[in-house]
Symmetry: C2
Subunit: 447 residues, 2 copies
């Protein structure tokens, strides 16, 4: 296992260090804010007799050197092991996340990065206290649930009601506005498993949608089939948002096998004419109006005032240690930056590594950064967050100005030896760079 | 998923119906109680011109007919779906197990079997009430544990202590009898993953061993790495037994990733000189001196007074619905028996199908059956329990008298078309037929 994890983390890190190293070193800036600027094209093959659109010998050599070094490094694994063991779960605004920020500063300093600091911000706090559920009739047995982030509590002692199943969120939205009063809505929509994670977005829609549609119809609670395709009895949490003006009903996810079980019970009870399936659930939560979180920021200073942002998010959900989501992103980007840091000489551009705070609960760190750095956003020439797991890389996507696409494709050519290639100019760049992307900063994503 | 499960259950069921059908129909009895008896060899090729050691045309036709029918049947899946949905968890002595017995009688009757009945017995009752644990220092975070069956409780409010890790039960046994006073013993021994399940026995040894060796040394609790190779955060329960004359300490299993985490924490704390790793744990349990369980028994009456026993165990642990352990065994054997039941004419021998009670907590049903039926054990010519999962069959093992091995191998030849073959005469027959096997009844096992 160790071997496997290490090599997966290496491949992400290899790609990132190579790519960021290339972007940081090549001279002209990428297109920013739709202003007319020089393109990166001019930098390709700079200072050599290479044909247009090709990397110079020196550039190729540097790229291959970074790849070779990264393939031998266990640093990403070591960073991840340290974060998940010393700190563990890091719920946004929690004591765990606060300890993680201190760990982040220590880690950045130990890697030799400059200007390590915590940029704090405030956000509301939510945490789970208790969550139990069971089928109470006609086939009594326990169900494995987890409250969705931001869910209100049930009455103390819980609630109980008849369950009405909907095969999809769309079916629930199509349901009449009456007929569900006093009932528990169950949205059984499964997530589609895809290599590029494209099944996630549609699956997430039901996370908020179910409770809001249930509340709108007078239901007393909403259950969803877990987002995710895991077959174990581990429900998947994640945040939801209540819409304004709708009664807020408690909402939770059932693990996939428990969703199967509830669906089977409903079908069987109907076939046996055994009466409606009823569920009892008890969710207790703790909330505070305001707590502190923060982004942990460090830099490899460049020769110009241009900035490239990479990183992952430091906060995690509370049900595990956040190794994949997003300890891996933290580890990959810090290890990649370390390789660039160790190259002879300064990069042309400053590389800013960010451990984002409070991503899971609504991109609070992302918005705080965009606000706190709004006066220098025009100097951000590229941004990317690593928040897509720790498996092998098979593609890289860009979102740059049309005149830079060819140059970007040229830059990424050396990672072909790792089985990865450029695939399209529609990168989203990762959740925490969303405010940068919408402000016009070019982004890239590794897949 | 449905498709896959169905076909796995089918293959088990195919093999069992074919095999039991063959054994029930062939005339002479297998060797029993080491008495000199006719062997099954004489029945092979009976009433035909087949060469010695081969099945007759009629026997081959009947075997292939059973296999063909079984391959088309979804009955095993339907029985399993009904048991796990209507009843769910069936902890020995619980209300769930009692409901399961009623379900068992209903199911046997609906399949057309005769003499459906519950044969009750008593046993002590144990159930979990609460179980939590966390690393309290130096890296505070929660651990996923489950109490081992029969564990005593911690003091109300829990206990806390320094953890001492042992790589194996053997290492703990080798440790001096002093030096662990007031500490928590952690036996980190992993289970080896093997196709034939041979890693299970050695892994189970630590389930009782850890607490007894810990108690002997003045430790206050014992934790083990879960038996099993699952990588999810689901600890594996199972029963343990305290030895006489040793202080009884509470004991629980950590899921595999949580065992990894505790081991990493111990290593890291040592490397950082951060002080000892301490764990807090709280286990509360409920016990009763005596409760009722029972075996559910039914028959396909034969022409002679000889009996073949097949079945699975009805009780399960409480953390899931007991679909694999051992709902699958119940489903496979009931569906197999139904195929034989539907053949024209009576089998020569009575096939007795048993849903055993209270297997998980110490073979109470097995011992009760052997005692209740001791006067007819000499008429039991073969026994087998299906308690090895629901995957495809790849081998069948026998434990018959030496003079019957050749005949047994001949009988099982038709299942070669399913990719399975005879493999050795050392079958254990399954846990609940242990008292029968030790009394001299021949057994077989499907793997």
């Amino acid at each position: 296992m160790r071997k496997h994890r290490t090599s997966s983390l290496r491949l992400f890190s290899v790609c990132r260090s190579f790519l960021v190293g290339g972007l940081a070193s090549l001279s002209p800036i990428l297109i920013v804010h739709a202003q007319p600027t020089p393109t990166i094209s001019a930098a390709i093959g700079e200072g050599s007799s290479a044909k247009p659109g090709a990397l110079s010998e020196k550039q190729t050599e540097r790229a291959n050197g970074l790849i070779d070094k990264a393939l031998k490094s266990d640093l990403a694994y070591e960073i991840l092991e340290s974060l998940t063991t010393e700190i563990g779960p890091r719920l946004a605004g929690s004591e765990g996340e606060a300890r993680a920020r201190e760990w982040g500063v220590r880690t950045f300093k130990s890697l030799g990065f400059k200007n390590s600091r915590i940029e704090t911000f405030e956000l509301p706090y939510w945490s789970r206290v208790k969550e139990t559920a069971s089928i109470s009739a006609p086939f009594p047995q326990a169900l494995a649930i987890t409250a969705l982030g931001n869910s209100v509590a049930t009455p103390e002692g819980g609630l109980e009601g008849e369950v009405v199943r909907f095969a999809s969120l769309a079916d629930l939205k199509d349901a009449p506005l009456s007929g569900l009063e006093g009932k528990i809505v169950f949205v059984d929509e499964p997530m589609t498993r895809t290599m590029d994670g494209s099944g996630y977005g549609p699956a997430v829609a039901k996370r908020s949608g179910a409770a809001n549609e249930a509340g709108r119809r007078g239901a007393i609670a909403a259950l969803i089939r877990s987002v995710g395709t895991d077959s174990r009895r581990m429900p998947h949490t994640g945040s939801m948002r209540y819409q304004q003006g709708i009664v807020r009903v408690p909402t939770a996810a059932l693990s996939n096998p428990d969703a199967d079980q509830l669906a089977r019970a409903i079908k069987l009870a109907s076939a046996m004419e055994a009466g409606p399936v009823r569920v009892a659930m008890n969710i207790q939560v703790m909330t505070r109006e305001s707590t502190v979180s923060g982004n942990v920021v460090a830099e490899i200073p460049g020769k110009t005032d241009e900035i490239i942002v990479i990183g992952g998010h430091l906060d995690s959900w509370d049900l595990g240690t956040g190794a994949v989501d997003d300890g891996a992103g933290i580890a990959i980007t810090a290890a990649a930056a370390k390789l660039i840091h160790d190259l002879p000489g300064r990069p042309r551009r400053t590389i800013r590594i960010i451990m984002w705070g409070a991503e899971e609960v609504g991109l609070y760190g992302a918005r705080a950064y965009a606000a706190q750095h709004k006066d220098e956003l025009h100097r951000h020439v590229m941004a990317s967050e690593s928040d897509f797991g720790a498996g092998n890389i098979w593609q890289v996507q860009s979102r740059v100005g049309p005149e830079d696409i060819a140059a970007f494709k040229t830059i990424v050519r050396p990672i072909a030896r790792l089985g990865a290639s450029w695939r399209g100019n529609n990168a989203n760049g990762g959740p925490d760079v969303t405010p940068l992307r919408t402000a016009g900063v070019p982004v890239f994503s590794l897949r």
